[in-house]
């Protein structure tokens, strides 16, 4: 997966430039992904597991 980091970065840059931009939060995760990867690819948050993804999304969407 580390070989895909560059492509993920490009994808997020395209989203920022041509997509809905800051209205969209990009979450990243998976075994080889950590905080450094999150920063490198330009994601908003790194989720260590599925539960963390749900928690983050609920918080962002202001869902109880």
């Amino acid at each position: 997966m580390t070989t895909a980091f560059g492509d993920i970065q490009e994808c997020i840059r395209t989203l920022d430039k041509e997509g809905p931009g800051k209205d969209v939060k990009v979450l990243t995760g998976g075994g080889p992904v950590d905080e450094a990867t999150c920063k490198y690819v330009g994601a908003d948050h790194v989720c260590r597991n599925a539960q963390e993804t749900v928690e983050y999304s609920k918080k962002y969407m202001e869902v109880q």
Binding site: M1, T2, T3, F5, G31, P32, V33, D34, A36, T37, Y40, R48, N49, A50, Q51
Partner: protein
Amino acid sequence: MDENTKTGQELYKEHLERLKKAVANEKTDRPPINLNADAFLVQYGGGKVSDLVNDPEYGNDLIIKALQKLGDVDCGGPGAFPAMGGGAFFFARIKLPGRELPDNMIWQIDELRPMTEQDYDVIIDKGFGYYTEQFMKKYFPETEESKKDMEAMMQLGPKVAQKYIDAGYVTLGVSQEGGTPQPGMMCIAGAPFNSLSAARGTGEFLRDIKKMPDKVLEAMNVMHETNLKTLRDTVRTAKPLTVFTGGGREAGDFLSIKDFEKFAWKYFKEAANVVIEEGSYCYLHLDCSWDRFVKYFLELPKNKMVFGPDGTTNIFKAADVLYGHTAFYGDVHPSMMSLGTPDEVYAYCKKLMDRFADKGFIMSTGCAVPSNAKPENVEAVVAAALGK
């Protein structure tokens, strides 16, 4: 005498003794270094990843050259041959560099998920071997290319393995008497969970566990009985130092503790016990986060396992529970290997050394060295282990 003046035979003996002590959780003069790094090393040696596919002997010569360039690395073994990536283990097509993929791209698993709900009955009635055979006939009929790959592996395998031995390298699966077990003597242990999860696909399989738990368990029991017999026979014949005892999909966040115990741990523990009963050590190759399950390894005999997380499990927290019970292996994070600096890698390795290196520790990265790891980061791992 430094490593540059030692013969391959002398290095082999030294590396083997060091590795044996480390897996037995005993003191070593320094941690043995094991780099699971074929895709990285073939490039570091001046070649392309596809060299391992198109000319495996040449590709492995480059790996040996790369290992020698890195310094006194203890462990190294043959890189992947095309036929090894046949896909049966993952119920997948394996796309290979130099064939379906560009030369320097790592091989890719394209899961087929061929198993249906009805296939549980096929496994229960006719066995998992029968099911796998039918799968292979349908999805991987023998072709000229697959025949050629298999012949190359059978012919080249022992020759290439001997080259590593002559250069002084040992593998975790080395025969206890020295030397590499013959082809076909590869030992792998684990729970049926992983095979079924690959065959059904993770999502469907997790639904099966809730929807038809008894049927899943019945199929698992059939598979497990066959697996244990094969495992015991193979370990008894090959007598490997360690057996790859793998876990991944049953860990992490996919299962509750109750389901982990019922669908995974029971089988995993029995398989690990077979390895130990037959006189080998379990190399616990643990993908995903085992943070919640670390304590379960206390149920297995002391000093008979090497705990090898992939960088996701917190190895230092695991040590609070398992230090003194298992040896440790690890675990520089793949992200750090590809994005970090040599100073960061070196500092992390020193932290590992401070916690573990008085005994029973093998220096490595989590799971495998990424193919795009920075060369200077791999050099930093080796330098830290060598105390440079």
